[in-house]
Amino acid sequence: MSDDDGGIVPYVAFLIMVAAGILLSIFPMPLEYAALRPQWLCLIIIYWAINSPFKFGVVGAWFVGMFADIVFGSVWGGHAAALSLVAYLCLITYQRVRRHPMWQQTLWVFMLVAIHQTVVNWFEGLNGYSQQAHHYLISIIISALFWPVMTLLCSVLRRRYRFH
């Protein structure tokens, strides 16, 4: 990565996206649809880990996850551990994933979000709130389907402000 990589802009953009992700995740929704929400934070971490692996890695994902745990009121360390694991998996495979066609990337994102949800479910189980896997399957599918949309939006933003 060269020196001309945008300075502070990527960090600001990352923080803004994380804040937007958290707001979207807690936006009040009718109870039937609440379980179908896409996992915005997971998608954001995957995107940044794949596209800027030298800036945002496991530690960044851990802090984002801790912050999410505090806001969501879930077991502390649940989302942190899940997002760190997902970020780690992205970091060791980003070179391949970047070159995949979009449908293959979507499948890969599906797997990553599934892992994220499973880990969060394990941690929530410590609190007595675990649920069976098929209940959050649709949420994972919807998250994966949002991936192309997100990539498109983010690459448009990147080209406009020209940062890595």
């Binding site: 929400r37 969501f72 929530e124 709130y129």
Partner: protein
């Protein structure tokens, strides 16, 4: 990753601070609702406002009449209790709070209210809405608090059958419309439509507040216990304003008061 015991250990003061960190986000997501309510308030027709005004005045008159008859009942109750040498009843002071958010986990029934320790809220404080008991405060920040609802799967509430004064424990099962009574013997006199009120045992919830109405009884003679399902009276998924009840401690402990006089 070994933050597993981050939760089960000594992080209590941090948890209260966490409520403060989380509340701005909930306030932001609550903002569109506030705006839409403000709009609907400003743009109602004058005729509708007149109608609403009249209906509210009539309702107020009815409630005032009921309050008058209650005042004499309260006085009589106090006199009778003094005659029987029992402990005094609690004097309840209430504080109105607004619901500003719901935690996103659909299994966890926790809501955020806009009152915190600055307004006097404390951990364990009972929360009611207009129709019945709603839950208790579990984490308190400076200006917001988290309230665990009675239908959360980890919550249990001592209740009493209004008709027969028999005591049970009502547990939540993760469904907003259901409370389950466990360990109800097969021979219990309980019917669909019976009212369950809080029994005051456990010193958490004040005595006598409506909790739920029995909606289903499944008797199975082969099993020792009956499965009783009750519907909570409080509108857990619709209430906007809730009441925080302040319990002032009784003058003498309930159990030992009569003996030590």
């Amino acid at each position: 990753m070994a933050l597993v015991y981050l939760y089960t250990d000594v992080f209590a003061p941090l948890k209260n601070k966490a409520t403060d960190i989380a509340s701005p986000f909930y306030s932001v997501t609550h903002f569109p609702k506030t705006v839409s309510l403000w709009f609907s308030d400003r743009f109602t027709s004058k005729a509708r406002l007149h109608q609403e005004n009249k209906a509210l005045k009539t309702e107020l008159l009815i409630h005032q009449k009921q309050l008058q008859s209650m005042a004499s009942l309260v006085a009589e109750n106090i006199r009778l209790r003094e005659l029987l040498n029992s402990s005094k009843t609690l004097d309840d002071r209430v504080l109105i709070a607004e619901l500003i958010g719901v935690t996103p986990n659909p299994l966890e029934h926790k809501v955020i209210i806009n009152r915190g320790s600055n307004d006097g809220a404390y951990i364990g404080q009972p929360v009611l809405d207009a129709m019945g008991l709603m839950g208790q405060v579990v984490h308190v920040g400076d200006s917001s608090a988290q309230v665990l609802l009675i239908t959360d799967s980890t919550h249990a509430l001592p209740v009493q059958l209004n008709r027969t004064s028999e005591r049970f424990v009502a547990e939540g099962v993760g469904n907003l419309n259901e409370l389950v009574l466990r360990y109800v013997p097969n021979t219990t006199d309980i019917q669909v439509g019976d009212m369950l009120v809080s029994s005051g045992l456990g010193q958490r919830f004040p005595k006598g507040y409506p909790v739920a109405m029995v909606s289903e009884i499944k008797r199975d003679q082969s099993k020792p216990f009956v499965r009783v399902v009750a519907t909570p009276k409080a509108r857990l998924n619709r209430s906007r304003y809730v009441l925080l009840v302040f319990d002032t401690a009784p003058d003498a402990p309930a159990i030992g008061g009569a003996q030590f006089e």
